[in-house]
Symmetry: C2
Subunit: 380 residues, 2 copies
C-alpha cells in the first residue's frame, strides 16, 4: 500500500543542502519514505493524502522525558512562581506516589501521557525510570516504558533516596538495580549535579551501564557549572542534556566529540532559571537537540511546539534551527537514523500542520497547530 | 432545558470571597447559570454533564484582538527574531492585503480565526477594524466583525496611512469614516504612541467617537512612556491596553479611575520587548485584564492559556490572578456583567479543562488543556 502526499505548502525533509522544499510531494510505501521530489513528477501511488496547502514536517523526536510517575506537583509550581519555599518534598513526593501506585494505574497514566505527546506531533519519544529509586520499582517503571517506546533509559541515579548513604546507593544502582533494569533499557543515565551525583559517582554509574550493554547519556550542567559535560565527552555519551551553564572548554569538548547538547527550555520557563545559549553552541559547531523534559517537577509541558517557540524567543535559534533541533537533533541524540527527517528511507513519521509554514510554530506560540500526525505512514 | 454540571474537580466562579469551590456543582437553565452550590445538594435537572473530575472555569474573555485581516507576516517575524531589519512594510503589507481581499475571503479568514479562538476556550471576544484605513474598508471590516461578536471596535486611528498628512487623516477618521463605521461598532479606539497618534490627536479621535455614541478604549504606553494612559483616565475609558511603560502617576491614575489595564504579553513574547509588571498594578489596586492582541504583526497567538502562562512566568501574577485577568478582567475591560464569571445569572460560558485544576494552565504551558467549551450552555 503506497500513499502519495501532495498539495504540500512547504515540505521539511532535512535533505543535505536542501532542508525544505516547495511544490514538492513524497511517497510513503510500507511505512517508509520511498520517494521525495517535485509535485509535478510524483509517481503513481495506491492512494493520495492531500495536505491542503499546509506545511508537512518530520514528526517531533522528544529525546528527554520522564513520563513514568504518579502524583501531581501543581501546588509546588504555584508556590515557586509566588517566590515561596515549598516544603512538601519536591521529587520525594513523586517518588512516594509512584512507589505507591498500582501497576495498572501507573500504566494508564503513562499511556495517557504518551497519547498527549502523540496528539502534539511527537512520533518518537525517550522516557526514563527514576521515580522509584528501588530495585523493584525501577524495574517496573522500565517494563512499562518499554511497552510504549524503544527508547527507554535507566535513571536509578536520579537522586539519592532519603535515608541512603550516597556511595551505598551508587553500589545498589550499579549492582542489583542495574541487573534488574538493563534488560528493559537501551540507555543508562545519571543526574550529575551538586546535590545529586558528583563526577566520580556519575562515571561509576555510566561505566557500569555501558558494561551491562547500555548506551550512556547524562543530565549535566543544569543548575551551575560542573563536570557533567566533560564526563559525557570523555565517555562518548550520545547526549548531555540541560547544558545551561557551560564553560568555553565545555562548548569546545561538545563540538570536538559530537556529543549532542540537549536543551530543555521548558525547565527554565517553569523554574524562572536563565535559559541556555543555543546560538553559542550552534556557532561552535555543536549538535543541538530540543526536548520537553516532561516531568512533574521542573517542566510539565509535553509540547514540542511550545519548546520550539521558546527556543526561538529565548535561546537565539532561528525557527528552522529550532525545528531541526526538535526533529533531526532529537534523532541524533537518540542515535536514530530512521526518524527525525523525511529523506528517502526514513520511517514515515510526519505532521501536517494547520499552517502553511514551519515558521508558524514560533510565530503563533501556544496555538495548537498540529493537524494530522502519522507514524510509519499510519495515524498515530 | 436545564443541565446539572457535576463531578467537577475544581469550580472557578469568582463569587465574592470564594473565587473557587471544591465538591461543587452548578445548574444551567435557559443558557444561564441558575444555581451554584455543594455537589451533594444539586437540584434535579433535565440532564447531567459529568465533568469527569476535571476543573471547570469561566470561558475566556479576550478583550483585545485584531482578527479582520488578510496576508501573513511570518517572514517579518523570522527576520525580527534573527535581529534583522525587515523592509517589506510591516503593517502596510497587512493593509495592502486586507484592502485587496474579496469580502467573502476576508469573512472566511475571520470565521476560521474565531473558530480557532473558540476551540481554545474563548467564549467572548473583542475585535477591531484598523487594517484598511479608508472609509469603505474600515466599514467593511466592522460589518464582518459584527457578524461574529457584539464587541466591535472602530480603530481607523491605528496608524496614519502612507501618503496622508496626520491631521488630515484624523479629520477623515473623525468625520466621514466615523459616520460610516459607528453604526457597526460598540467601541472607539486609537493607537496613542510615538509614531502613531499624539495625545491631542488621540483625544480628538476618542471624543468624536464618544459623541457618535461609542465607548472609548485605547492602545497606550506600549513602546515607551507616554500620555495615553492619562488620557484614558481623563476620558473615563473602559481600558488602556498594553501598559508596558507606566509612571507612578499612571499607575495611581488607573487605580483611582478604575480604568482597566489590559496586558498583552503575547506582544512582548513575539517582539522580545520587556514585559509589563502586573504585580505592581495589582498591588496598587488596578483592575487588570490579560488578552492575546491576536494580530499578524506583533502577536499572532490566539491562545488565552498561553497568555495566562506568560502572565505567571513573566508578569508576576499568581495562576489564579492570571486566570481572573483572562476571564473576569476581560469582562471588566468590555464592561460586561454577564460573562467572565460563573456566578448565578451569568451566561453559561464555561470550559471543562483536561486537568484537575486551573493551576495546570500555567503548570503545563503550551499543552492543549481546553476540553469541552460551552457558550450559553451549548457546545461553542
Amino acid at each position: 500500500m503506497s500513499t502519495a502526499v501532495t498539495n504540500i505548502g512547504e515540505l521539511v525533509t532535512w535533505e543535505e543542502g536542501r532542508p525544505l522544499r516547495h511544490a514538492a510531494a513524497f511517497v510513503v510505501d510500507a511505512g517508509r519514505v520511498a520517494w521525495v521530489g517535485d509535485a509535478a513528477r510524483v509517481p503513481a501511488a495506491d492512494e493520495v493524502l492531500d495536505a491542503g496547502g499546509a506545511a508537512v514536517i518530520p514528526g517531533f523526536v522528544d529525546s528527554h522525558t520522564h513520563l513514568v510517575f504518579a502524583g501531581d506537583r501543581a501546588t509546588e509550581f504555584e508556590a515557586r512562581m509566588a517566590g515561596r519555599r515549598y516544603s512538601a518534598g519536591g521529587i520525594r513526593s513523586t517518588v512516594a506516589a509512584t512507589r505507591a501506585a498500582g501497576t495498572d494505574a501507573l500504566a494508564a497514566l503513562l499511556a495517557s501521557r504518551v497519547a498527549e505527546l502523540r496528539r502534539q506531533g511527537t512520533t518518537t519519544l525517550e522516557t526514563k525510570s527514576g521515580y522509584c529509586l528501588d530495585v523493584a520499582g525501577e524495574e517496573r517503571s522500565l517494563r512499562l516504558a518499554r511497552d510504549v517506546t524503544g527508547e527507554t533509559t535507566f535513571l536509578g541515579a536520579h537522586v539519592v533516596p532519603e535515608g541512603w548513604d550516597p556511595d551505598a546507593y551508587v553500589e545498589l544502582v550499579t549492582g542489583e538495580m542495574l541487573a534488574a533494569c538493563a534488560p528493559h533499557a537501551r540507555w543508562i543515565d545519571v543526574f550529575c549535579e551538586t546535590g545529586a551525583f558528583g563526577a566520580d559517582q556519575a562515571r561509576t554509574v555510566l561505566a557500569a551501564g555501558v558494561a551491562a550493554g547500555l548506551l550512556p547519556r547524562i543530565h549535566a550542567n543544569q543548575l551551575g557549572f560542573g563536570p557533567g559535560v566533560q564526563l559525557a565527552c570523555e565517555l562518548g555519551a550520545a547526549a548531555a542534556d540541560h547544558c545551561t551553564f557551560l564553560s568555553d572548554a565545555d562548548v569546545a569538548a561538545l563540538a570536538d566529540t559530537g556529543v549532542v547538547a540537549g536543551l530543555l527550555p521548558g525547565v527554565e520557563f517553569s523554574t524562572r532559571q536563565p535559559y541556555p545559549d543555543a546560538r553559542r553552541l550552534l556557532e561552535a559547531g555543536v549538535r543541538v537537540a530540543i526536548a520537553t523534559d516532561c516531568n512533574p517537577g521542573s517542566s510539565f509541558t509535553s509540547s514540542m511546539p511550545f519548546c520550539i517557540a521558546l527556543a526561538v524567543r529565548e535561546l537565539g535559534m532561528t525557527p528552522l534551527e529550532a525545528l531541526h533541533a526538535g526533529t533531526q537533533g532529537g534523532a541524533w541524540s537518540l542515535r536514530r537514523e530512521d526518524v527525525g527527517h523525511l529523506r528517502v528511507g526514513a520511517r514515515a513519521d510526519f505532521v501536517v500542520l494547520d499552517a502553511p509554514s514551519h515558521l508558524h510554530l514560533s510565530y503563533r506560540p501556544g496555538v495548537p497547530l498540529v493537524g494530522r500526525v502519522l507514524r510509519a505512514g499510519r495515524p498515530a
